[in-house]
């Protein structure tokens, strides 16, 4: 690893300034560091050789707060650690699927230091929170020298390790809307070790109305460059009662509408079969929940 300067600003404004002019470009650009779990690996591998790291550890503590909104949603500070998110009573109350997802997200050592903002900004398509928060319709608020903006988590990812964030733009918080009866599950499918990157990630969110599917959101991840909505499969589900035939059609539609990349976890052909089976299983599981 190349030696670097470590800046430890006490305000977010200062942090943004330190990442700006004169702080290098491209692989040498100044990088914000929160938990550092991904960045350190990339620096060790020589992918990034930043001249300056801007630690976010000492900025205003409010950026690490987790709170329920009056409407019943969540406001999650970007610097909240994944462990804080996992253990938060308000999160468990408002969106238990987030709590559940964190149990198998990486390992406890990573979760203790990694932050929500980092997990969203990293852009690795294998991560668990981006597809889940996409399905939940969550938004991120960001800040950069150009000012603040809000965008949907679903709009954050533009390609393989590519995000819509500018180099000196930081996520400040995540806004999760109230679930309002939305039934949600995230299935992380691993095929090697229990603690591993997913071979395939599948998030399913269903809004039921009088025993009929009013709305459905299906997001596939890990085998695609970005979390990807399965529009055709969603369309099949709307207005139906999830009988066996519908489930089968939905599984087939999911497989037809998305390209899955083969890798060391499994071939493309095998991942398609996993998607076909798990789409049906997860839907059945959600449907069975009262």
């Amino acid at each position: 690893m190349t030696p670097f300067e470590l800046a430890e600003p006490t305000s977010l404004a200062e942090a943004i300034a330190l990442m700006g002019e004169g702080a290098g470009i491209g692989d040498n650009a100044a990088r914000a560091i929160a938990g550092g779990t991904a960045l350190m690996l990339m620096m060790k591998a020589g992918v990034f050789q930043p001249k300056r790291l801007v630690s976010l550890r000492r900025v205003e503590p409010r950026y690490a707060e987790i709170a329920a909104t009056p409407e019943g949603g969540l406001r999650i500070g970007a610097l909240a650690t994944l462990t804080a998110l996992e253990r938060s009573a308000v999160v468990k109350q408002a969106a238990p699927v987030i709590t559940q997802t964190l149990k198998t997200l990486s390992n406890v050592r990573v979760r203790n230091v990694a932050t929500v903002g980092g997990a969203l900004a990293h852009g690795d398509p294998h991560m668990d929170l981006p597809p889940l928060l996409t399905a939940l319709g969550a938004q991120v608020r960001t800040v950069s020298p150009k000012g603040e903006r809000t965008l949907a988590v679903g709009e954050l990812y533009t390609g393989y390790y590519e995000t819509a964030l500018a180099e000196n733009e930081l996520i400040t918080e995540v806004l999760v809307p109230p679930l309002a009866g939305l039934r949600v599950a995230y299935k992380k499918i691993t095929t090697r070790a229990a603690d591993d990157w997913p071979t395939l990630g599948l998030t399913v969110a269903l809004q039921l109305n009088g025993g009929v599917v009013a709305d459905a959101r299906l997001v596939v991840s890990a085998a695609t460059n970005t979390p990807t909505r399965l529009a055709a499969a969603e369309k099949i589900l709307r207005g139906t009662t999830l009988d066996t035939a519908t489930l089968a059609r939905c599984g087939d539609a999911a497989v037809s509408e998305v390209e899955l990349a083969g890798d060391a976890h499994g071939s493309s052909a095998y991942k398609r079969e996993l998607l076909r089976v798990y789409t049906q299983r997860v839907l059945r599981e959600i449907w069975g929940k009262s």
Binding site: P3, G46, A193, A194, A264, G266, A269
Partner: protein, 760 residues
């Protein structure tokens, strides 16, 4: 001398436990000495190529760089800078050509590790690409030749015929012939033939390779090496040979090891550190990263073909085994794996007619050597999968067919050596009992099908090898044990101290185990192949008995009873005060007979290791995903010196082999490792470990110290085939390649259904 409670056979807590959990245990990886330079290497980016040019100018110019060396600089220091236990084939840094992607071609020295690392990245080498060979079977006939001329080390008689042999990749061909195979095949009711494969994997001890080399002596003509090695005595001799020195010019010191598993035997990080220190005249530390371990030493990928002649009742009458061991670019100890493990290829079965052909092959991949089991897990994988495939075809129960063929006490194994103190039957029967094999088994329901499988294997001890020990009794009645056995986590310090305690009647707290230091501790072949308990155990016992006898003599000389007099009083009477020592020495080398041209010998091994595993699995018939829900491991270790340590050795070995069975695989693209990191190469974590039951059967190795023998590897033997057999039992899918993946099971299910999965 008054006897304390018996020490042998008790689960005494490990001597080093407190030091390790409080972070006080010493490791070379953490070591630093004044004036030390850090070595970082630049590695080849082609699998096979002639070196045209190595440009080190930019690296040399980087501020803070002390020196940059290539193979040519090493050659100025050492005329023939090649090392290895079986062949002198491995250059300290590549010379003339590179033979695998990742081979060290240049080294940078700097006081600052980051500077050295950055400088190493600036080194540019040009190669003329040569045709490469990666597959072990292709290597038999390939036009691509890894080593133009073979250079056997001369230490091994069975390699002599390979001296100066040209244009071959075969680094050893071992053959065994017993009975009349052709006639037996002709007379058999059935003939079965199957081919199996295993993948290349690696050791990955949590402490990577590390050596600190310090030049000393008035004429800068001697070296001290602090090294994370399992074989200090070998390293001393091999480094001395490279420099043309006598052994006393090299001192090798070894603290604790953060794991070894066979990776740290023979020369690994030592030669480069030593050469750099001699060139720089400064202390040099060469410690690899975790990722660099992928380019150091690995476990052989293999192709194994087994053909068996079987009678209708399941009796096996003939067996032909061909084994191709993918040794990678350097032989390391591969030729020994080929022979010493190769001769057990037909399995622990009574078969009158046997042919074995076992080949060590050079390829353009990272070198393969010894890894926990020394080739045995690959062989058991093949022959125990084969056993179940035969049983299934003949509709015979897997336990029944094993009972019918298992070698019994006093019967000859394929080499002609009689099985002695080998509790094969007992291990098999105990396994069947614990698995409740003869009771009905719940087969699962819906999309989950359950199955169970068993496998049993055996291993010979590498032989003949020598161990020496010294027991030094102080006047106050405390004592020190000097031995070159390396405690790498297996608990050898503790059990050796137990043996001293047992013989001398001295409590364990009064015994110090002096760690290997070749200027201080006597010779030992190495800590490998589960040999220490038996070989060093004998040497330690002999040394302790020698010290005890000398104490008895001393007591009678001064007119005291050694039985009733405290030790200090005996010394006081002799020397007038608390002074003096008694030094007991012990050595051990087992008898052995080399195999003849047909692979036959009356004495192939001083003892046999036995290991068996039973597995239960649940398979998801819609996805091929499966879960090992129970593992039962049975071993014969003779009498346990320390039952708690035996238990952890069984479970540790089993979990390691389970990783090789289900998860681990080095992936390659044109000879480049594509997953050289712990993020992409997955070793088992706590959540991957299934419920496990471990047991050492009630047995005795009559020729062993206190009835004991080795235990480090036995837990690995049966794991892979037991799981594969269980999967087949559950869903009728037979996998013949490792690792066993959900996808492979799924593809098998689809094929069975007549709808093979198509890759678009």
């Amino acid at each position: 001398m008054t006897l304390s409670t018996a020490a042998v056979g008790r689960s005494i807590p490990r001597l080093e436990a407190r030091a390790k959990v409080t972070g006080r245990a010493e490791y070379v990886h953490n070591m630093s000495v004044p004036g030390m330079l850090i070595a970082k290497v630049a590695r080849s980016n082609v699998a096979h190529g002639r070196i045209r040019n190595i440009d080190v100018a930019a690296a040399r110019a980087l501020p803070g760089v002390f020196a940059v060396y290539t193979g040519e600089d090493i050659r100025k220091l050492i005329a023939e800078p090649y090392y290895g236990p079986a062949f002198h084939d491995q250059p300290i840094l590549a010379i003339d050509k590179v033979r695998y992607a990742g081979e060290p071609v240049a080294v940078v020295l700097a006081a600052d590790a980051h500077v050295a690392e950055n400088a190493a990245r600036l080194i540019e080498a040009q190669y003329e690409a040569l045709p490469a060979v990666y597959d072990e079977v292709e290597a038999m006939t390939s036009k691509a030749v890894v080593h133009e001329v073979l250079k056997p080390a001369g230490t091994f008689a069975d390699l002599k015929h390979l001296k100066d042999k040209r244009d071959t990749n075969v680094a050893l061909d071992f053959h065994l012939r017993r009975g009349d195979l052709g006639r037996a095949f002709a007379a058999a009711d059935h003939v079965f033939e199957h081919t199996f494969r295993t993948q290349q994997v690696l050791h990955l001890p949590l402490e990577p390779f590390a050596t600190v080399a310090i030049v000393n002596g008035a004429g800068d003509d001697s070296l001290t090496l602090h090294s994370s090695t399992q074989s200090p005595s070998f390293v001393r001799t091999e480094i001395a040979r490279l420099f043309g020195w006598t052994d006393n010019k090299v001192r090798v010191k070894v603290p604790y090891l953060g794991g070894g598993f066979g990776a740290k035997v023979y020369v690994k990080s030592e030669a480069l550190a030593a050469a750099c220190a001699m060139l720089a005249k400064r202390p040099v530390k060469f410690a690899t990263t975790m990722e660099e371990q992928f380019y150091m030493i690995t476990k052989h990928a293999t192709t194994l073909r087994i053909k068996s002649g079987v009678m209708q009742d399941g009796k096996i009458t003939a067996r032909e085994c061909e084994v191709w061991w993918n040794g990678g670019a350097y032989a390391d100890i591969g030729p020994r794996v080929t022979q010493k493990s190769g001769f057990t290829a037909p399995g622990p079965y009574d078969i009158d007619n046997v042919h074995i052909d076992s080949y060590a092959l050079y390829t353009n991949l990272p070198a393969a050597g010894a890894l926990r089991g020394f080739g045995i897990p690959q062989l058991v994988w093949a022959y125990e999968s084969h056993t179940d495939m035969i049983a299934r075809e003949l509709k015979i129960d897997p336990l029944t067919i094993r009972r019918k063929n298992i070698l019994r006490e006093g019967w000859p194994q394929a080499t002609g050596t009689l099985m002695r103190d080998a509790a094969l039957e007992k291990v098999l029967e105990r396994l069947a009992q614990r698995m409740q094999w003869e009771k009905p088994f719940q087969r699962g329901s819906g999309t989950i099908k359950r199955g169970r499988g068993m496998a049993i294997g055996f291993k010979a001890s590498i032989s003949p090898t020598t161990s020496m020990a010294i027991v030094n009794l102080s006047a106050d009645g405390s004592c020190a044990l000097y031995s070159s056995t390396v405690d790498m986590g297996q608990g050898s310090d503790t059990i050796m101290a137990q043996m001293v305690s047992e013989v001398m009647g001295i409590p364990i707290e009064k015994i110090t185990v002096v760690h290997p230091d070749t200027d201080v501790t006597p010779y030992d072949m190495a800590t490998l192949g589960s040999r220490s308990t038996f070989h060093m155990g004998h040497a330690v016992k002999n040394a302790a008995e020698d010290a005890r006898d000398k104490l008895l003599t001393l007591a009678s000389e001064v007119g005291l009873s050694a039985e009733t007099t405290p030790i200090p009083d005996i010394f006081k009477k002799k020397y007038g005060m608390l002074a003096g020592n008694i030094v007991g020495v012990g050595s051990f080398v087992p008898s052995y007979q080399s195999p003849d041209a047909r692979g036959q010998t009356e004495n192939a091994t001083p003892f046999w290791m036995i290991g068996a595993t039973g597995a239960e699995v649940e398979v998801d018939t819609e996805t091929g995903e499966f879960k090992v829900t129970r593992l039962v491991n049975l071993v014969d270790v003779g009498k346990s010196i320390n039952p708690a340590i035996v238990e952890t050795q069984i479970s540790g070995a089993t979990v390691m082999q389970l990783g090789f069975t289900l998860q681990e695989q080095m992936n390659f693209s044109d000879g480049h490792v594509t997953n050289a990191s712990l993020a992409d190469y997955k070793i088992p974590g706590m959540r991957d470990i299934p419920p496990m039951e471990n047991e050492a059967v009630d047995a005795e190795q009559k020729s062993g110290p206190f009835g004991a023998k080795g235990v480090g590897e036995s837990g690995t033997f049966g794991v892979s085939p037991a799981v594969a057999n269980a999967i087949d039992d559950a869903v009728g899918v037979r996998l013949t390649s490792l690792p066993l993946t959900a996808e492979a099971v799924y593809r098998g299910l689809r094929e069975k259904a007549g709808k093979p999965l198509k890759d678009s």
